[in-house]
Symmetry: C2
Subunit: 251 residues, 2 copies
């Protein structure tokens, strides 16, 4: 990452996402990244928030050697539905999330379109911790499946397959979580962070505490001059709810 | 219905539900009722709300000839899980809703247990009007399916069947609603009421307006000295949401 960018363009701000197996917010292991890297998706003007046009953004990203999300190219408006369906089917097979469709001029608002595999993977995670995840988060992903089957004019065979995937993506994690709690287990998510300075761990722990997140930090392990720390995030609400229902309490 | 009850027991209150095809809140057509009848499930003391014990309640119901929900009898505590599973499987086949398990002394809180068919029927209705129905209503019915598969220790074949039912109960109505709006239809629920006096219709219309419900009342038809009025309830939120998404707006 060429930091001259910040000197050359003091009026611009990078919008991106930390991607890689060491980002505890992203469950999927997709880009060929060892720990985490900063992937840029937009460049915007300071204060106004006005985004650069796609063409200009791409030029800057290349010049400064920034990592950026995969660029599928410019597609003629009339070809978009067909081309996007093709791209999404391909991405879905690799369990990738989907695409963000952007106006080259960045005037029209952007549109995220996700693969069924990604929706179902979100749902598997959401229903594992069914009482911690937002209802709206679950519903929006379910409804996406409804729209996709209409948009793609699926036949009965394709539709039945989609029903089965959806049903399994919901019921499998529910069964696992309920069965787990019944057997006396505590439900948690595992994540890890890699830091150079142990103070960062302390800061992060404080930050999560302020957010009200219930976490257990394991002892740091030294990995290549860095510290790797495993974190268990206790999904208290789902644990408690499941326990309560199993003991006869009502929804 | 013997109205002497109210003279004989001025300190008691009947708790019940209007059941029959003419109750617009109950979609299922189960009891052998022509229009609506008042079915009693509890008798309680005025003010304190303290319920009568089951035995005493049953005696009063019989004496005064009240309609009451089906009574499956008293079941020994240790047999409850097995017996209820049997009853629920039977009720499910007939698309009936389920049971409410009550302590004969009415001290412990009661427990409603529903059939998978009833859960899925609720879900079919809920997802037809996915943006009008409460998120929590949907989630609780989905989670019930998760608990039931664990409670009944289902094998993989039974589990797959449940996944397929669940998936279809969610996706079929979604597909139908989204496809309908795409074809220019308006989504609505149909209901009907039967009244002796047309003033009741006016009162009911005012009541629904006060609740903020968007309804269209059709012209009254005369049926056996009564008026039958068909009502269309417009599910505005789902209509608008679906329209907006189809036109490119975001969730």
């Amino acid at each position: 990452m060429n930091l001259n960018f910040f000197k050359d363009f003091p009026e611009l701000v990078l919008y991106g996402e930390m991607i890689g197996p060491d980002n505890l917010y992203i469950s999927k292991d997709i880009y060929n990244v060892e720990s985490v890297e900063f992937y840029i998706f937009d460049i915007r003007e300071k204060n106004s928030g006005k985004p650069l046009k796609i063409y200009k953004k791409q030029k800057i990203l290349e010049k400064y050697g920034f990592f950026h999300v995969r660029f599928f190219g410019e597609i003629l408006l009339e070809n978009v539905p067909r081309e996007i369906e093709k791209i999404i089917l391909e991405l879905g097979e690799k369990e990738h999330e989907g695409v963000v469709i952007k106006d080259p001029e960045m005037v029209l608002s952007q549109l995220k379109y996700t693969s069924s595999q990604s929706n179902c993977s979100d749902l598997r995670h959401a229903f594992k911790f069914y009482n911690d995840t937002g209802r709206d988060y679950m519903l929006s992903r379910i409804v996406r499946e409804g729209f996709q089957t209409v948009e793609w004019k699926e036949n009965e065979e394709e539709f039945k397959k989609r029903c089965m995937w959806l049903g399994e993506s919901i019921l499998s994690p529910l069964r696992e979580s309920i069965g787990g709690v019944k057997d006396g287990q505590r439900l948690y998510e595992e994540a890890k962070i890699r830091v150079r300075d142990l103070k960062t761990v302390k800061d992060f722990e404080d930050y999560l505490k302020r957010l009200g997140v219930d976490v257990i930090f394991e002892e740091p392990q030294v990995v290549e001059e860095e510290y790797l720390i495993k974190i268990k995030k206790i999904n208290k609400s789902t644990n408690d709810k499941t326990q309560a229902i199993l003991q006869g309490e009502l929804w």
